[in-house]
């Protein structure tokens, strides 16, 4: 069977604040060396699906660099390939993708080139390990037109998702859907859509032509509820771990969850692959720990130099932790430098941040949320934007956001209180 995968990787996810200012959610770094989209790409590789279109819209360049030739996931060869599909001008003067279904609709010509029997539509935003072959076999066994993968979530948060109502005939594996509600206020079930759709190509084409004319651009909101009853729509029950990281808290926790000997998200067992040419990761030397280094319960990749103290943290390639510096409960992206005597507590520092000597970040109490993002940033995390330079001895309390690309001279005071947005 001929299967083409389409990854929706263009979304920004405003809830991640400055982390997604310059990159889509799918390109956010995760777990010490990866980008979030690596999970979908590695799943495809391990499932033997080797033809993939990647639909990007928001700030595509980081994705274009990351996917490269696709060789990292073995998408290279005469009949294999990974293609970035940005919006392009069509018959209408501006054809930005208006929604998930519209993005696929605008690339029907790409799909037609390969004439696949099935189109597997995925999101690039989630952290999970799945053999799509199981979903495909389920789909074929039920002779389905559309199969959607669902995962169980706690009742309390179920209304954040599209929810399945299964037919009584559904078993442990799944079954026919009798209803689908997109983010209902009162949850109708706890089976949440993973936004993984397997379509018979003919059905997909037919549905998209019908719906796009009527301005229905989203699969979850507009299309799936209308298909039930008219097509053979099935729900597949996924039993594995599904990391949903749409808020800063969830993102931070999903990283901290890796700090165990055998974590639920087991990067080693999952054999997640990334593009080591992106950011020159592959040219970096192994990490060096000097005689004063003290590191515990942390993840670290190549190219780091540690002289200070690192505890309960995730450290990406190229990070420098100088002597007497202390990094605790933090996530430090590529090439950030923590200078002598600086302390970071529960900080997410974006790529290339430079933390000056004796700077203290994440001190004080988390008694006020962030002024700009009061609903999203209140648990005490502090975010340092990309390439920002924090001058010596500055103190920054919890729930603060420091905007990207600030120069040391742009800091006009020495103490920033809980919840400030520094720009």
């Amino acid at each position: 069977m001929n299967i083409l995968a389409m990854i929706l990787a263009g979304g920004r996810v405003d809830e991640l604040s400055v982390l997604t200012l310059n990159r889509p959610k799918s390109a956010v770094p995760y777990g010490g060396v990866y980008r979030i989209i690596d999970f979908a790409l590695s799943n495809l590789m391990h499932s033997g699906i080797d033809l993939v279109g990647i639909l990007s819209q928001y700030r595509s360049s980081s994705l274009i660099h990351h996917v490269g030739t696709g060789a990292s996931w073995d998408f290279i060869g005469r009949k294999r390939g990974a293609f970035i599909l940005p919006p392009s001008k069509g018959t209408i003067s501006s054809d930005w993708y208006r929604g998930t279904a519209d993005a696929i609709y605008q690339n029907l010509d790409f799909i037609d080139t390969y004439q696949p029997d099935r189109v597997l539509i995925l999101s690039g935003d989630h952290i999970y390990k799945m053999n799509y072959g199981d979903l495909i076999r389920f789909h074929e066994a039920h002779n389905a037109d559309l199969s959607i993968s669902f995962v169980q979530r706690p009742e309390a948060e179920a209304s954040r998702f599209g929810l399945a109502r299964f037919d009584v005939s559904a078993d442990d594996q799944g079954g026919p859907l009798v209803g689908y509600d997109e983010k209902p206020e009162k949850p109708v079930s706890n089976w949440a859509s993973m936004t993984i759709y397997l379509f018979n190509t003919a059905v997909l084409r037919e549905v998209l032509h019908l719906c796009i004319d009527k301005n229905m651009a989203h699969f979850g909101r507009d299309i799936i509820p209308r298909l039930i009853g008219n097509y053979r729509v099935f729900g597949y029950k996924f039993k594995g771990i599904w990391g949903y990281t749409q808020t800063l808290d969830e993102y931070w926790s999903a990283n901290m969850a890796l700090l165990k000997s055998e974590p639920e998200i087991d990067l080693k067992k999952w054999q997640v692959r990334t593009n080591l040419a992106n950011g020159n990761i592959r040219d970096r030397i192994p990490s060096h720990f000097d005689s004063q280094a003290k590191i515990e319960n942390s993840l670290i990749y190549n190219g780091c130099k540690v002289s200070g103290q690192v505890t309960n943290s995730v450290i990406f390639p190229g990070v420098v932790v100088d002597a007497d510096a202390e990094v605790k409960d933090s996530i430090v992206f590529y090439d950030s430098v923590i200078e002598k005597g600086a302390t970071l507590t529960k900080v997410i520092a974006d790529v290339g941040a430079r933390i000056g000597p004796n700077v203290q970040i994440g001190i004080g109490a988390a008694d006020r949320p962030n002024v700009r993002y009061p609903d999203l940033l209140k648990s005490g995390i502090t975010i340092i934007g990309r390439d920002t330079e924090i001058p010596a001895s500055v103190q920054i309390s919890k729930n603060c956001i420091v905007a990207p690309s600030l120069k040391a001279t742009q800091f006009n005071k020495n103490v920033y209180h809980t919840g400030e947005y520094i720009e």
Binding site: G31, L259, L267, K268, H288, A293, K294
Partner: protein, 433 residues
Amino acid sequence: MNDTLAMILAGGVGSRLNILSYWRAKPAVPFGGIYRIIDFTLSNAANSGIENVAVLTQYKPLSIMRHIGTGEPWDLVGRTRGVKILPPSQGRKDSDWYQGTADAIRQNIDYINNYDSPHVLVLSGDHIYQMDYRKIINYHKEKKADVTIAMLVIHDLEEAKGFGIAITDAEMKIIDWEEKPQQPRNNLASMGVYVFKKEFLLQALKEVRGDDFGKHIIPYCLADKEVRLYAYPFDGYWRDVGTLRAFWAANMDLLDKKSGLDLDNWQIMTSLQEANQIADSPPTYIGPGAEVKDSIISPGCEIHGTVLRSILSPGVYVGKDSRILNSVIMHDSMIGDNCLLNEVIADKSITIESNCQIGVGPGKNVNQKFPDHVNTGLVIIGKLARVPAGTTIGRNCIIFPNIEASVYPGKFIEDGETIMARDSIEKGGLLFT
């Protein structure tokens, strides 16, 4: 730089590396966590802008071939760039194995003639050093030399004894040569790096009957006053890691900022695509209670114990309460709980079960079977070998590749002992005959 063709001699047996080169040619022996020895020469060539590199293999070439692949990691891919593996092939005689360094080049004259490059740079794949070949090539051109030899400036004459030594005039023209002299007359030691004017190289290979650069080609040059044979002094880091002690010490030099071996300033590139290489490795996890100091750690490791002054390749596991000291531990090796390793070189995929002590004891004996190879206290553990739980191993010991727990005579292995199976020698026969 496409006026110079590089030829790397990578066929050496490296018998003094003992069981490390049981499975592979010496240039393919892992080094510095993620590298192999030949990465230094390949990266030097790539960093010097040399576009075409040939790698001459003979002894157990598989790991080298797999490692080099298309040459892409060193950017030796493209319309004008490339790396070619040149194994011995049958010629006019029945068996044309390479008889020596010069003979290996001689048998590949066809390859050299395929290129217009007027200069040929002959290199060895056995050495750890960082060198910009552009400088010696420019020097060679300025001197209008027929041959230029890179000479390490040796600061302690005692150390010059094991090398080919050049005696030069004021212009650095080589006027005499001593091979491994007892009392060196000069401090310039050959690094096995030669730049030849192509025409001269072809002529010399035709006229000289002998097969070795040091023994035959250099005397040929010296015999004729007209031949422009020059020394190029090099005063940087260079090590022939031909012995286990030198191999271990060069690894340790990576931990010493003052050693002169500085991977930050001269990029060493390697292939990450081989099986078990770091392309599939997650970040290293350093657990609660672990201690890692003065060490180099590759990705994919899991460390629960203490690692001091050591080099870990990808995928190494160190159990709780274990201490790894002054050691080099290669890929995917597993060290259980409550072990002590001191001055150990462990090849890939070894297993040390819990409660072992390795490299402890007074070191009163050198290795009894291989006294010339293992005599400074190091313990060498071969690929895929296993050390059963609770074993104590003294110093100067060798554990052969693939050794199973059942082969051990007891829980105490004394200084200088070797653990091998009945068929170990047979399997390693090529190496030890």
